[in-house]
């Protein structure tokens, strides 16, 4: 009892400074803004299987795409319409090699992402955990978006999110790890 209590305290200790790496002038854009309009109530889908029997999907907002076969996220249009960000998504096959990937994201330095895509899309690592039996498997196609979006998020809500859900269902995903870049 006592030990479990101590463990829980350590586990739930809040240690991260959410604004450590954010320019000070950007902080009011994020802090204290509350829920997105209409998104106040809890949403919950219980995770019902054992991890070792579950198929896991990853979603990154780093703007990865396959440079040989997919279109880049549209950063040209963003150059002209500064408050707009490409709302589309790409499926990144688990078989993609690091050298197959490119990054289209004007708000972050892409050097580390290109040097080691695992820092935002840990597909190899998830495969390793699958081989070790920690998870049951991964989907064949993970998901990439470009995280800079207009404030209304209408295209994400009406088009992109339903398409991603359909993709994840088709892939048999039991759970999704989203990693904002």
């Amino acid at each position: 009892m006592c030990l479990a209590g101590v463990g829980l305290t350590i586990l739930l200790n809040v240690v991260v400074d959410s604004y450590r790496f954010l320019p000070r002038s950007f902080r009011p854009l994020y802090e204290g803004r509350g829920p997105f309009p209409g998104e106040e109530s809890p949403v919950w889908a219980p995770f019902e299987k054992r991890l070792a029997e579950s198929r896991i999907a990853l979603l990154t907002s780093a703007g990865f795409y396959l440079k040989g076969s997919q279109q880049s996220f549209d950063v040209e249009r963003e150059q002209v319409h500064e408050e707009w960000g490409d709302p589309t998504w790409r499926a990144i096959p688990t078989s993609a090699r690091p050298e197959d990937l490119a990054v289209a994201h004007l708000h972050i330095n892409d050097e580390d992402l290109l040097a080691d895509p695992e820092i935002a899309l840990p597909m190899r690592l998830l495969d390793e955990l699958t081989r070790e039996g920690v998870v049951g498997g991964s989907v064949a196609g993970h998901v990439a978006v470009m995280g800079y979006q207009d404030r209304g998020l209408r295209d994400w809500r009406d088009v992109t999110a339903p398409e991603i859900v359909a993709h994840l269902r088709e892939q048999g995903a039991d759970g999704l790890i989203l990693a904002p870049a």
């Binding site: 204290g32 991890l51 892409d110 695992e118 820092i119 690592l125 991603i164 859900v165 759970g175 990693a179």
Partner: protein, 113 residues
């Protein structure tokens, strides 16, 4: 991104958000949150540091599968191994993004005190 997690969760797929701004993800009411004190662009850690990346991914999986209720947040107790000033500069794009460029221009054009 937290709101994208909500829409996917509402469709019946459990989600966890691994983020450098967990306080914002909480405000935005993401169902499950893992906080990391890492620079933007690096949610799973340093390039080529498999041990670090694995700690993040394993924690994300544990929270995804094990969180008992909505709003669970667990922070990874791990410091970024690069000095702050250097890391703060390193994550930012070499050329300012269009919106930042516009903000900077507006500041320059605006009234001066």
């Amino acid at each position: 991104m937290p709101v994208l997690a909500r829409w996917i969760e509402a469709a019946g797929i459990p989600t966890v958000v691994v983020t450098m701004m967990p306080a914002v993800a909480e405000e935005r009411r993401a169902p499950r949150i893992v906080g990391v004190e890492f620079p933007f662009g690096h949610p799973f850690g340093m390039p080529n540091d498999r041990v670090m990346q694995r700690r993040v991914l394993e924690l994300a999986l544990r929270v995804l599968a094990g969180a008992a209720s909505f709003g669970t947040r667990v922070d990874l107790d791990m410091e970024w191994p690069v000095p702050l000033r250097e890391a703060y500069k390193a994550w930012q794009p070499k050329v300012p993004s269009p919106i930042v460029r516009k903000m900077l221009e507006a500041r320059q054009d605006g009234p001066r005190s």
